[in-house]
Symmetry: C2
Subunit: 218 residues, 2 copies
């Protein structure tokens, strides 16, 4: 893994999207793609796509474009997808269970190895063949197992407390699905999936779009 600290977050955010689109093309049997074609699919300018990619190297070929399969793999390498990641899910509620099943679809190398919950009724169950363990045993578990990512799907009020337990452990990344704004130690990276924020954005644009349509038709 190279040091790309000079690359801005705005660029990084677009990488998984590029990779996903390349995967779609690859499935369709497309072998090569130009930045102009990519720009039509992704909705960015061709210029931007070339700029973005050139932060990481020269992946294309003049007069030809990009090899779809190779570029997909190369972006995957930039993102760090060649590794295997072990994950645990904290909170065996509906969302936790959904993720335990959902991430199984990924062939990209993410493996959920345990689910934790405070509810004694859930402890001992198996979800998608993954054992639900007592949240009280989390610290001990982290001492005896190599885990990379913790997925937080507890209720909002427990999110910070549960994160404090993760501090100083082998956990390097937190995928936070609660609405809480969590403080994390420097050596842990956090990615927030604030679903309510997403729904509120949708709502805003629905209303604005309604206005725009009315205006056009008047």
């Amino acid at each position: 893994m190279k040091d790309y600290s000079f690359v801005s977050n705005t660029v990084i955010k677009r990488l998984p999207r590029y990779r996903r689109i390349l995967g779609d093309l690859s499935e369709k049997g497309v072998k090569s793609v130009s930045s102009t074609e990519l720009s039509r699919i992704a909705g960015y300018t061709a210029s931007q796509i070339r700029q973005d990619l050139n932060n990481f190297g020269a992946f294309g070929q003049q007069g030809y474009g990009y090899n779809v399969e190779r570029l997909q793999r190369q972006i995957g390498e930039i993102l760090g997808l060649r590794n295997e990641y072990k994950m645990i899910v904290l909170g065996a509620g509906n969302l936790g269970q959904a993720i335990a099943n959902y991430t199984h679809y990924y062939k990209s190398g993410y493996q959920i190895i345990a689910i934790f919950d405070v509810n004694p009724r859930l402890v001992g169950l198996r979800i998608n063949d993954i054992e639900v363990l007592d949240a009280g045993s989390l610290t001990e578990y982290l001492e005896n197992n190599q885990v990379d990512i913790a997925v937080i799907t507890t209720d909002k009020d427990s999110a910070q407390a549960v994160t404090d337990v993760l501090a100083g452990s082998c956990i390097r990344g937190i995928w936070n699905f609660t609405a809480a704004e969590i403080d994390v130690p420097e050596d842990i990276v956090i990615e927030n999936v604030h679903l309510s924020d997403s729904l509120h954005m949708l709502t805003y644009y629905m209303n604005q779009n309604g206005l725009r349509i009315k205006e056009l038709s008047s």
Copy 2:
């Protein structure tokens, strides 16, 4: 709802976050907050927060700051949260079920009124007291019921087909949880929750952070 088409998407994206933080403060009993205090919590500059808000009006008071409760309500109004929204969930899998339960937590006025699935085994079930209906009856349902938002939690390959059924109906917004890049008609707004993209970003920053930490300690 006013026309805010002059406000950029970069600004809009921060609004739900501001509102959420104001809600947290309000719960703690905080009555007023300055842009400087907000900046510490949100991680933006005070200047940016004031700039953002002034796109929509003057909500503060010199020498005092912002009234927490009122500003939260005002941002809610900008986002369109005073309305009631009726939602349907397309796909009664783990994620669909999780969302059917999850969104019930929102007091903000979102109501799930039906879930659709192609699997005859699931049709007729009740999830969180919401009926699972046959996907085949979707068109008819949309003709006879007022629905604002469709949540798509089908598999990736069905996402476009299901969207085509929504075109021309009463649906004004799509909340897409599949990895598909969906084409939508002009009068429908789409908000994508690409969970795999989010996980890939986390992975990238985990690896970059690892590098940074190693460098510091060497």
